[in-house]
Symmetry: C2
Subunit: 338 residues, 2 copies
Amino acid sequence: MREATLKEIANTLGISITTVSKALKNYPDVSAKTKKAVVDLAVKLNYTPNSFAVNLRTQESKTIGLIIPEVVHHFFSGVVNGIIDEAEKNGYLVIILQSNESLELEKKQVALLINKRVDGIIMSLSNESNNDAHIKEILQKEIPFVQFDKISKLIPSSKVIINDQKAAMDAVQHLIDRGCKKIAHIRGLENPQNSIDRFLGYKKALEKNGIPFDPGLVYACKSITFEQGVAFAKQIIEEDKGIDGIFVITDLVAVGVLAYFNEKGIQVPNQIAVIGFSNWLVSRVITPKLSTVDQPSYEMGVEAFTVLLEEIVCRKENREFKPRIIELETGIIAREST
Amino acid sequence: MREATLKEIANTLGISITTVSKALKNYPDVSAKTKKAVVDLAVKLNYTPNSFAVNLRTQESKTIGLIIPEVVHHFFSGVVNGIIDEAEKNGYLVIILQSNESLELEKKQVALLINKRVDGIIMSLSNESNNDAHIKEILQKEIPFVQFDKISKLIPSSKVIINDQKAAMDAVQHLIDRGCKKIAHIRGLENPQNSIDRFLGYKKALEKNGIPFDPGLVYACKSITFEQGVAFAKQIIEEDKGIDGIFVITDLVAVGVLAYFNEKGIQVPNQIAVIGFSNWLVSRVITPKLSTVDQPSYEMGVEAFTVLLEEIVCRKENREFKPRIIELETGIIAREST
DNA sequence: CTGAAAGCGCTTACAG
DNA sequence: CTGAAAGCGCTTACAG
C-alpha cells in the first residue's frame, strides 16, 4: 500500500492541494464542510504528511543530535534518558552518536550531524576535545548548541553542569564530619575539567577545616577503572600513612577500593571511610553500600534539551539568544562506607 | 553564511545544475575539466548536499529507528553501542526511543518512526508487548524490521537472539558440576519469552542430571530489582530447605542475593553457590565476584544492524528478502560465587 | 472561501 | 559531453 498524499486526497475530493493542506492544518479560511470532508478522508486513508517534504519545505528536521563519550555508562545513560524523554514530549527525535573518547571520531560525527541538518546539537566532549575547529563550526553555522558535563569553558554556548568543586568540598566535609583526620584523594585524569575541579574542592575543604594539604595523599588515576581502585587501596594500606578517609573521583574506582578492603578485612568505615562520586547503580548494591555524591543525570538531560529548545525557538523567530549556564544541585548520599 | 547549493555552483561556473550534480556524483559522462572545476569550487564553498532534498528525492532517510525498553541498563547500552557503531560505518544514523516498558508509549513511538520515514526499525519489545497492531503495521508497510532480545515469536521478522534455554541449562549444569545437589531458581516475570526459556532450561538441566524438579524451589520475581534478590535470599535461608545453589534470572537480582548472604555471613559458594545472567558490570566488582552467563550485547547490536541493512538493500533492489534468525553464542563466566 | 503557482534543493530520464 | 525539464510532496504568498 502506497502512502497517501495531499494530491491523492485533493483528486479524490475534486478540490485543490492547497485547500487540502490548509484544511489539515486547520487554517481559518476553509469552510467547515470542506474541512470535515478532508479530515475524514485523511483519517480513512491514514494520511500522515511526508516528513521529507515537510523538512525540505520548512528547513527543519525536528531532530536533534547528541554526541557523548559512551552510552555504556550509568551517568550518561541517565542523561540520554532525560534528553530523549523531554525531546519526545516536544515533538523532537534524538540521533545519538558516541565519540568513544576519540577526538577524530567526534569531529566526524559533528560533520555528520551538521550535514544531516539537525535542528540542534547537545554534546559532552571527549577527554581530548577542547576549543577545536569542529565545535567552532557549530557556533559559526548558528546551530543551537548545548554542552553538558564535560564542557569546554572557552566555548560560548549554553551549558548544563554541576558545581564539581562544591560537590567535592561537600564530600570531603562529610568525611571530616564523620571524624576523618587524614584524608586521601584518588583523583581523575589530568585534563578533564571535572577532575581538576574535584581536586580543587578537596583542597579547599581541607583548608577550610585547617587540615594541611599533603600532596603525598593524592593518588592520580591513569584510567578510570575498578582495577585502579584496587591498586591504590593496596598502595594506601602498604604505605601505612595513617589515612582514615578517602575521597574517590568516581564510584567505579571507589568500588575497587572497597573490594580490596573487603578482601583484606579492613573495616569500612571504622578504619577507613570511603566516599565516591556519581551514584552509579553499583554503589547501592555493593557491601558496604558506598556513600557518594549524587549527580542528577536525568534532570541534566531534561535541562539540556529545554535550553536547546529555547535557542531553537529564538533563532527561528530571529530573536537574540543569550547562552545560559545551568548549574544543578548535587547531594551527598550517606550510606554504609562513611 | 548560507549553505552552498548546486544552483550556486552552477551559476558561478556558468554551467547547468544537472552537470554540477553529475560531476559531484562522479558520473562518467562529464568531462574531466568540468568535473575538476566543479569539485574544486564545491570544496572551496564547503558544499554538502542538502539532506532534506536528497531524502525527498530518493525517498530514503539514511536513518534507522531503535526502540528499547530502557537505555539505563548495561545490556541494552551494549547493544545500542553495537548498533550505532555499525550503522555509522555504513552511513546510517540512529534515532533512539525508549518505551520504558510501556506498551502505550511503544505504540506511539512506532508511529513516530514510521511517520519520520526511517529506513528501518530495530526493536526489543516491552514486557507488555506482543503480536500487536503496531508491530503488524511495520511489516505491512514493508519497513525493514529486526527484533532482538525480547522478541515476539509470532512476528515473522528477522531476529537476533541468544538461546536462553541452552544458556540457562549451561548455568545450571555449571552449578551441578560444582557439586550442587539442590538447586533453586529465581525466575523472571511470567510473560517475557526469555524468562520462560530460562526457566525451561533450568528444568531441562535438572532432568538431564536425574534431579527431580521441585516447584517449591522456584521463586518468581515481581520486578527485576536488587530488593527482590534480597527478599528471596532471606526467604530461602528462613525456609531452610537445604538449597545449595541458586540460578538467578539476572545479575541485578543475584547481587541482591549476595548482599543478603554477605550480611548474614553465609558462605558463598561453600554453603550456597550463586550464578546470575547477563554479565552486568556490577557482577565483576561485587564481593564475591558473581559467576554469570555472558551475553554478547555489542555483537548483538552489530548483527541486528547488519541483517537490517540486508533487508533495506533487498527491498530497495526489489529482491525478495527472507527474514533470518541469528542466534549468538553465550558463555559461562565462572567467578567466585560458584 | 478556493486555487494556481512558485519554490524548498536535489536526481535522473531524456534529448541533443 | 551538456542541459532543459519533470518531479519528489509539501507550504504559503497572492490573486480572485
